[in-house]
């Protein structure tokens, strides 16, 4: 049985750029899928296709058991979308914004009003409920935007980079909201450029680049694929780098990397904690003072690097034209390749 969000062979081209080039997705009910990728990878385009905002050139998409292409209006009743920017009317108060969205979800005025009050409480916006949204902080706007997406408690939610541009405290707040939501049974597709975020929230991760799915699996599976653990040492004295390097090479199962300015040495290993203890003993015997040592498992950043051959870039997209910007971005890359 296909999941709450299902896509098969989604293709969408803008001019000569294939923003989506045959993307398959399957998100089981009640789980979170993290759609990960750099700018221009096709994340936003995928979300827009699945939320009826964009017509794919080919492929199939089913959301909440409804065909996105054949029953767009029914799909819209079953989804909530929180886009890349807080899409709230800044001259309306928080309450007015939520009431309007409720009514446009075809709720009766009275029900929309009651629901707005409930959401304002839930999202910690009750004190600011009757102030125009333009007086809100960035974090408050995001919360209001998310509340608007949840007006009808839709079974399927899409969030496109929900925490881009938020400070750590607000990001944490939003993560808590998202976790609560998912524990309530909502299926969520989340796009993000923050690998940490996907690691934190998503059950499954799909990595896209240039409109292709380049990897999928749980965060652990992806990390395991990238390679095992490694020992990381920060020595206290710069002159100890060479000696420490010798020690690590002795224990290592691969190439040693050295960051001179941070006095950090890293080497891939097998053998876990036991090996780490041996490394510490050997360094001690040689009289090398260390500031930090640890067994590191690969981060999603490492995963990304090994999959795409480039680091995930965190860069502001052109707010006005994500697709066009993506297309332009890709075109530049193409030209550069020539």
């Amino acid at each position: 049985m296909p999941g709450a969000i299902y896509a098969e062979g989604l293709v969408k081209t803008f001019g000569d750029v294939r923003a989506l080039d045959g993307v398959d997705l399957d998100v089981p009910e009640g789980t979170v899928l993290g759609l990960l990728g750099p700018n221009g990878a096709g994340k936003t385009t995928a979300v827009r296709c699945l939320t009826t905002l964009l017509q794919p050139d080919s492929g199939k998409a089913v959301v909440a058991g409804l065909d996105v292409l054949k029953q767009p209006n029914e799909v819209r009743r079953s989804i909530g979308l929180s886009g890349q920017f807080a899409a709230v009317d800044e001259y309306l108060t928080g309450r007015e914004n939520l009431q309007m969205v409720g009514q446009l979800y075809q709720m009766k005025a009275k029900a929309a009003k009651a629901r707005a009050a409930e959401l304002l409480d839930q999202f910690d916006l009750a004190d600011a409920a009757d102030r125009p949204a333009k007086t809100y902080s960035g974090g408050m706007r995001r919360r209001l935007d998310l509340a608007a997406a949840l007006v009808v408690s839709p079974p399927v939610m899409f969030m496109d980079e929900p925490t881009t541009g938020l400070d750590p405290r607000n990001r944490q707040l939003l993560w808590d909201v998202i976790k609560r939501l998912v524990s309530g049974g909502t299926t969520l597709l989340l796009t993000t450029q923050y690998l940490e975020e996907a690691d934190h929230l998503a059950h499954d991760i799909v990595v896209v680049d240039h409109g292709h799915v380049i990897a999928r699996g749980t965060s652990d599976e992806l990390k395991a694929r990238t390679g095992g653990e490694r020992v990381e040492v920060v020595v206290h004295e710069r002159e100890h780098i060479a000696t420490a390097g010798e020690v690590l090479t002795g224990f290592g199962k691969g190439e040693l990397t050295v960051e001179e300015h941070t006095r950090k040495l890293t080497v891939p290993v097998t053998g876990g904690a036991k090996l780490l203890a041996e490394v510490i003993r050997e360094l001690d015997v040689r009289g090398i003072e260390i500031d930090d040592i640890g067994l590191r498992r690969p981060t999603l950043d490492d995963v990304f690097l090994s999959l795409t051959g480039h680091v995930a870039e965190v860069k502001e997209e052109d707010n006005g034209a994500p697709e066009k910007a993506a297309a332009k971005d890709r075109r530049h890359k193409k030209e550069a390749a020539k």
Binding site: L81, A148, K324
Partner: protein
């Protein structure tokens, strides 16, 4: 959470026309609240037409020949229908800028992801602009009376005709806001919508019978002016107000200005609403 979910379950849509009307009203209300919170927009919207009334009346008034008369009073009475018509068309820029702003800020995406009627976002906006245009027109009419404009200065008229005349003006304004809606959906930024919304309005409103007697124009320009949809409404207003300087041209819109005005406005609405809503359906922010 589940109790809540049940309580707010989305009602199945009833008759689509009813839904379209309700959604348009919700969006219109949103835009009216917005306008009331940006009063400076309404005030700036009033300053320009008031300035035009005063400047044209006092600067041009003595030098204009209207229907063979050079009396400043005749020009004043001739002028107002033109200024009123020009003012209502300027609502185009406001609609365009508002919709472009919604596109820019991602609100159009939000609306498009909701199970609402497809034309309602644009209809709501144009209806709110119609309310604003009506308010502007009331203030402008008061100013016009203060500087000496009088209906019935060139024949007989009555309250019904004067009201009908304002009705035609508002219909023209409403039709033009749909042009604005299309512009708003087509440009990238609100700034572009404001300037591109206004630039073409100058030739449209000046190559017309609004400010001068068209019979003095070169023939080719006169033909354009007489068939200009905008001129039809100006002529209709002048006839219904019984103000001087009505065109004596043989051109059909000048002979049947009320019909011409109705037909032109309806045509503009049908064409531009269709195009704007189509654009909305496929909009990519």
């Amino acid at each position: 959470m589940s109790a809540v979910t049940d309580a707010v379950r989305v009602a199945p849509s009833g008759n689509p026309l009813g839904q379209s009307f309700r959604d348009s009203m919700v969006v219109a209300k949103r835009n009216l609240i917005r306008m009331s919170r940006i009063p400076e927009m309404i005030i700036y919207g009033l300053i320009q037409p008031i300035m035009f009334v005063v400047l044209f009346t006092y600067v041009f008034g003595g030098s204009m020949q209207i229907g063979g008369s050079t009396s400043a009073t005749d020009y004043k009475n001739f002028l107002m229908a033109g200024i009123f018509a020009q003012t209502v068309t300027f609502a185009t820029a406001s609609s365009g800028a508002g919709i472009a702003d919604d596109m820019h800020k991602g609100l159009i995406d939000r609306f498009r992801s909701l199970p609402m009627a497809r034309g309602a976002v644009l209809t709501g906006r144009t209806l709110a602009d119609l309310v604003q245009t009506a308010l502007t027109l009331v203030v402008l009419a008061v100013v016009a009376v203060l500087v000496g404009w009088r209906v019935g200065s060139n024949g007989d008229t009555n309250a019904a005709k004067v009201i009908a005349s304002f009705g035609l003006l508002l219909l023209l304004g409403y039709a033009f806001t749909w042009i604005g809606a299309l512009i708003g959906m087509s440009v990238r930024t609100p700034e572009a919508a404001t300037s591109s919304g206004l630039i073409w309005l100058f030739p449209v409103t000046f190559i017309s019978n609004a400010f001068v007697d068209t019979s003095h124009m070169t023939p080719w320009l006169r033909h354009i002016a007489e068939w200009n949809p905008f001129s039809a409404t100006v002529q209709a207003a002048r006839v219904l107000f019984a103000n001087p300087g009505q065109s004596q041209s043989e051109a059909w819109p000048m002979q049947h200005p009320v019909w011409a005005s109705l037909i032109y406005s309806a045509l503009i609405i049908v064409v531009f609403r269709t195009l704007a809503v189509r654009k909305y359906r496929s909009a990519t922010a």
